[in-house]
């Protein structure tokens, strides 16, 4: 399941903690405050719980699931992301 995580957090430390949680779950940073990746239901639930435990009441974190059809219809304008990589289609990653 494709999941977007988008947040608005004022404190620098809290923000970087949320970013780190996203990275650890295997999401890819597509913008400064936007992550995208392929997670299963359990992973997305526990990611939400972890984020909830670090943010303040005034902050917000959205976890959006997205269907594959909708993902295919995304328009990328300007600097885009690697569609294959974020959707988990990449079988081999070379470095």
């Amino acid at each position: 399941m494709l999941v977007w995580v988008i947040y608005d957090i004022s404190d620098n430390r809290t923000r970087s903690r949320v970013a780190k949680i996203c990275k650890n779950y295997g999401l890819y940073r597509v913008q400064k405050s936007a992550f995208l990746g392929d997670l299963n239901r359990n992973e997305s639930d526990s990611l939400a719980v972890e984020c909830e435990s670090v943010i303040e009441d005034s902050d917000s974190v959205y976890v959006f699931p997205m269907c594959e059809d909708c993902f295919d219809k995304i328009k990328l304008i300007g600097t885009g992301f690697d569609r294959e990589l974020v959707s988990g289609m990449t079988v081999t990653k070379f470095f």
Binding site: N24, N40, T90, V91, K93, F94, F95
Partner: protein, 356 residues
């Protein structure tokens, strides 16, 4: 996904639950949970923290030399399963049960070769007759092999002879359908004498490490083979079992050549032979990984090719434990395999069992 590190002098470290791979000003951060295995195909640095992260996540780290042969791997220091399997494996060595297994594995190899040639024949009317001849040659070896009785010890030379005969026919047939530029004269290793063999050897090297890992996970002793004899540090069981799976490399490699995906830059000359260049390795690894990720029908279920290797090893282990070499019912086998698959460290949720 498989992470392949093939930039000379890369540095791999851990950050949180991620691996960070760096070289000069290029860097890549990738979560451990997205990775099934790490292939290091060049000179690189890796920190102990990164190794710990890999082991904690059941990711094995494999080091390949320039020919694609794994020269080391990092894997947890545990036996994959119960020692009973290994005990039985050694016990049946001299008994007819061992020959049953060996015959079955070799027969599977020959069947795979014949099926592949038949598939190639379909698209090549002009080669029909030649290819049919080669298929018949393999078929007659197969018939003879099926008739063998006794112990492996007594039949070893005959089996190896039949296998060799089939193999010669098979590779002659493949050379026949290759583009003019890449025709080859037989198999060659260490070094490969031509481009096709260089590709094939590297692919077999990758397969070899997959099969070894599958043996370990299934609790089989990679060093105690039946057909291949014991020798110092020789993984003879891996040599025995790999025969069934060589087709998984043969087919994508042949297609790379016949579909004109091969370029001159893929190869580098060495003394009396050819090896793959960095681009060649990258292209081959990608093609093979894609091919191993394809889904096939396996014993009534849809399974990725990669996972059929693991399941086959579990089947062998189960047969050893049961002590029964007769073909047991598939449904029963599948249940055992499935329960083991759930508990064992299969790569990610490849089998589709982990995804809810």
């Amino acid at each position: 996904m498989q992470l392949v590190v093939n930039s000379y002098g890369s540095y791999i470290r851990k950050n949180g639950e991620c691996f960070v791979v760096k070289r000069d000003d290029r860097s890549l951060e990738i979560a451990a949970r997205k990775i099934s295995s790490i292939l290091i195909a060049t000179a690189a640095y890796i920190t102990t923290d990164a190794i710990k992260l890999a082991i904690d996540n059941n990711i094995d780290i494999i080091f390949l030399d320039s020919r694609g042969d794994p020269y080391a791997r990092i894997w947890h220091p545990k036996l994959g399963s119960t020692t009973l399997i290994r005990r039985r494996q050694l016990e049946i060595c001299g008994r007819p049960e061992a020959l049953d297994l060996v015959r079955e594995w070799c027969a599977r190899k020959l069947e795979n070769q014949m099926e592949f040639l038949k598939r190639l024949k379909k698209a090549r009317d002009e080669r029909r007759e030649d290819l049919t001849g080669y298929v018949e040659e393999i078929s007659s070896s197969l018939e003879e092999m099926r008739r063998l009785r006794g112990t492996v010890e007594a039949r070893r030379q005959e089996i190896l002879g039949l296998e060799g005969r089939a193999s010669r026919a098979y590779f002659e047939a493949i050379s026949l359908i290759m583009p003019e530029k890449y025709k080859f004269a037989g198999r060659s290793r260490d070094p490969a004498r031509d481009e096709f063999n260089a590709m094939l050897n590297y692919g077999y090297g990758m397969l070899y490490s997959i099969v070894e890992k599958s043996c370990i996970i299934a609790g089989l002793d990679p060093y105690a083979g039946f057909l291949h004899t014991d020798s110092y540090n020789k993984r003879s069981l891996v040599f025995d079992i790999i025969e069934m799976f060589r087709i998984y490399i043969d087919e994508p490699v042949v297609h790379m050549f016949t579909r004109r995906m091969v370029r001159d830059e893929f190869f580098e000359p060495v003394e009396q032979g050819v090896v793959l260049s960095r681009e060649g390795r990258a292209a081959l690894i990608d093609v093979i990984n894609r091919s191993l990720d394809e889904t096939v029908e396996y014993r009534g279920r849809k399974v990725k090719i990669r996972n059929t290797i693991q399941m086959e090893c579990h089947r062998i282990a189960n047969r050893l434990i049961k002590g029964a070499v007769e073909e047991s019912t598939d449904a029963e086998d599948l249940e055992v395999i499935e329960s083991e698959l759930d508990g064992c460290s299969l790569e990610g949720n490849d089998a589709g069992l982990g995804d809810i």
